[in-house]
Amino acid sequence: MESSILESIGVEIIGVMSPVSICMFLVVLLVYSLSASNPFSPASVGTIRTAANLVYAENPSDSASQKLEGALLNALVFVILIAIVTFLLVLLYYYNFTNFLKNYMRFSAFFVLGTMGGSIFLTVIQKFSIPVDSVTCFLLLFNFTVVGVLSMFSGGIPILLRQTYMVCLGIIVAAWFTKLPEWTTWVLLVALAVYDLVAVLTPGGPLKLLVDLASTRDEELPALVYEARPTVARTGNRGASSLGLLVAGVSDSSSIELQAVSRDNVNRNENTGRSNADYSAVTLGDFQNEEAHIDRDDGERSPLVGHARERHSSSSDSSQYSTVVSPSRQDQQFNGRDHEIAGDETSPLVEMMEMGNEGRQTRVGDVEIADRGIKLGLGDFVFYSVLVGRAAMYDLMTVYACYLAIISGLGCTLILLSVCRRALPALPISIALGVIFYFLTRLLMEPFIVGAASNLMMF
């Protein structure tokens, strides 16, 4: 007697949504606690100079049209920069400069964690007057950073740690982005959503090129990508409730990482002998690359019912957990490219990836169907959190509205994914909904709610 349907449906979606929620929640908390420190000090906002506000530094005293114009310019420049960097990346990838890309990625992760993370830690320390001396602080920061880089780009690290660091990275970048002036942030978010749409869907879009390239080579993407894996939803299997998200990384060439996520997964990859089903362990093999990961799962999977919320892929006992044998090349996730669809019902694989290269700037996100798991780019994490963080500077009400909007947008994207079965941009729907809900809430709902609730009227 098990109510297995309720438990098995939606595992993948929740696996993606929970880390996104955690990331957003922490960013909101951070923004809240830090911005409360000196709300009126102009130094707290808008003074940083990044690629996102190269052209125009917003001044609160400027007129609306001036701000809009400047924000548009900023966004344009920023998007162009991203596009250039992405094309560069595609080019490098095309000519197989994978070592360079890999090291670059490591460097940027180190840089982000060390400097941006460091400055955020400093602010937190100042804000809460934590008594810590500089040497200790430096040591702690250094350790944090090194462990972070190692855990993101090498194997043999507990999955949970890796996930944590990925979320940390998202939080740090997002917290940094929330320091941008208000108008620029909004225009930038919209511009990025549009860019995402174009880059993933149009034939010559850089991300599409990249995805296609990676899939023809049967490699993982050179990017920072989260992969959500379904946890086993069996009755009596309690431990599997942790987020089925993990980020697989391969340290360097010729190492293969096998990850079995949940403990009693039935690893049915028939991939030739390599995948010793090593449950709940991460093993590092050392295989001379060239082997694309193969994962075939032929468990039964849920049908992609194109119905709302219905399409969550994993049926309970399927073996989408399973090993990942990553080829040596890139540092990240392989994407389950080979659509080996066994059986008639297969779960869509959603994969959104992102290239979180280039410090805080470039991101790209898209969702892609492969045949197991859902992948979400780190950039999507970042920009969802930026939106929510920006909303947090106004009110809690807008935060909650934006959160719901983004999550439902993510849900819509996943549903679309099961229909389209190809890589999809994860930003546009969520960002559009988020922005709409933000302004609706701010302009319409707030006076209504405050008017009613401050008179203790409720319904």
Binding site: M1, E2, S3, S4, I5, L6, E7, S8, I9, G10, V11, I13, I14, M17, A233, S241, E300, S302, P303, V305, H307, A308, R309, E310, H312, S315, S316, E345, D395, L396, M397, Y400, A401, L404, A405, I407, S408, G411, F437, L440, T441, L444, M445, P447, F448, I449, V450, G451, A452, A453, S454, N455, L456, M457, M458, F459
Partner: protein, 245 residues
């Protein structure tokens, strides 16, 4: 200390639903999705309502009937939405059953259905608490508190948390009652839910009168207890019937 107070208010309003969420909902991904979508539905209903009422705001606090109309329209709209929610759920249930056949799992049991209803109600309730109580709570984390003129004995934040708790209870369990009523075709349950909702809304009108909260809140809690009790009784009856069969 003030942070503690703020968290305390928040937990007062949302604590029970939080424990419900952790103990029942969070283990089943589908229920989490139900909670989220029902929260979204409630948010959308609120936005639509506020869009309609935007032109008439702010209402004068000296006369009570505009508030009465406001609550009446809001409740009517939300109850209409509840029927819609039921229709959608009905179709979803068929799909779920069809899916269960395909993966050779048992169909939705009675408890499953009740849990879905509970999740839907919890979504409504949590949305209510978040928007009506939690979103106003930001100043409570600061170094002061706020007293409303009409109920000067109790801090405003505490009041709104207490009221929100009652509404969370009502919303959560009236959804279970309503779904059961629809499923069984039980007219009494079907009609009692909107009436209870409306009554609860109207009871808050008493708060407009000076010192009214002393009367209003106990009345509100009476309604909440009634809902809870009725829901418990009904769930018990259906479960025992189901077992004996």
């Amino acid at each position: 200390m003030t942070v503690a107070a703020g968290i305390g208010y928040a937990l007062l309003a949302l604590g029970p639903s939080l424990s419900l969420f952790v103990s029942v909902i969070s283990k089943k991904p589908f229920l989490i999705l139900t909670v989220l979508s029902s929260t979204l539905v409630w948010l959308i209903s609120l936005i639509v309502l506020s869009g309609v009422w935007r032109g008439f705001l702010p209402l004068k606090t000296t006369i009570w009937w505009p508030f009465g109309i406001l609550i009446l329209t809001s409740v009517a709209f939300q109850e209409g939405l509840r029927v819609l929610f039921w229709k959608v759920y009905k179709r979803l249930e068929d799909i779920l059953d069809a899916f269960a056949d395909r993966v050779s799992k048992p169909h939705l049991s009675l408890t499953d259905k009740m849990q879905i209803a509970l999740a839907g109600g919890l979504g409504h309730g949590m949305a209510h608490a978040v928007f009506f109580c939690l979103s106003l709570l930001t100043p409570a984390f600061g170094p002061a508190t706020y007293f409303s003129d009409r109920c000067s004995q109790i801090p405003f934040f505490l009041l709104s948390a207490i009221i929100a708790l009652a509404f969370v209870t009502i919303h959560t369990f009236s959804m279970v009652i309503a779904f059961n009523g629809y499923a069984e075709g039980n007219k009494v349950d079907q009609y009692s839910v909107p009436i209870v909702h409306l009554a609860a809304g109207m009871v808050t009108l008493i708060n407009l009168a000076p010192g009214g909260c002393i009367v209003g809140i106990p009345l509100l809690y009476f309604i909440a207890m009634l809902t809870l009790f009725h829901c418990g009784k009904m769930a018990w009856r259906r479960l025992t019937e189901n077992q004996s069969r």
